[in-house]
Symmetry: C2
Subunit: 111 residues, 2 copies
């Protein structure tokens, strides 16, 4: 895709596949470390997590910070607040819709 016919098409394209949005949604709650994200998003593989994080970082949507020291501590956070309303809207709609349809949503414990 190079030329877009509508902003939404562009948005969908830059946000990418199913995992990117989920990762961003977690990061809107505050910055998280790699392993923390893994726990918060059960079902995602390490490969996908790393891959998406790299892409989101390259796109400038996510900020990666290494707190040097051993063992390594790497945190990720939203690079741009402008995404917040989008993620919030999705979150709200998803919640309401899940309730209507009767889908099970069980967030893992945030430790």
């Amino acid at each position: 895709m190079r030329r877009y016919s509508c902003p939404v098409e562009f948005a969908v394209d830059t946000l990418g596949g199913k995992w990117a949005v989920v990762i961003l949604a977690q990061l809107k709650e505050g910055s998280s470390r790699y392993g923390e994200l893994r726990r918060l998003i059960p079902g995602i593989t390490e490969k996908m997590l790393t891959q998406r994080l790299r892409e989101l970082e390259a796109a400038g949507l996510v900020e990666r910070t290494v707190e040097s020291g051993l063992p390594l501590a790497v945190s990720y956070s939203l690079a741009d607040d402008s995404l917040r309303p989008v993620l919030q809207a999705l979150y709200d709609w998803g919640g309401a819709r899940a309730a209507q349809v009767g889908a099970e949503i069980e967030p893992p414990a945030r430790r």
Copy 2:
């Protein structure tokens, strides 16, 4: 996917692939006929358009109405206003982001 760990994951899953959201975004402007959608979303194939519309209809997100008469006139519209804020947020963010990044967005003429 059967069980979700967060509403956003659920939302992404029900909204599905890249085209569904674009179609919905067009429908938020008002109801459109099949051929109209085709013009409004250049790049989509007829197969994809039909397929997505069927799915969105089955999910209860889109309403299909046949105005009988020949030739056929079928219109589609949003079945639920609750999606509007989501689509609007995406639209706004996409627009702002495109401006920042310098992406070209050329909406086709609405006739």
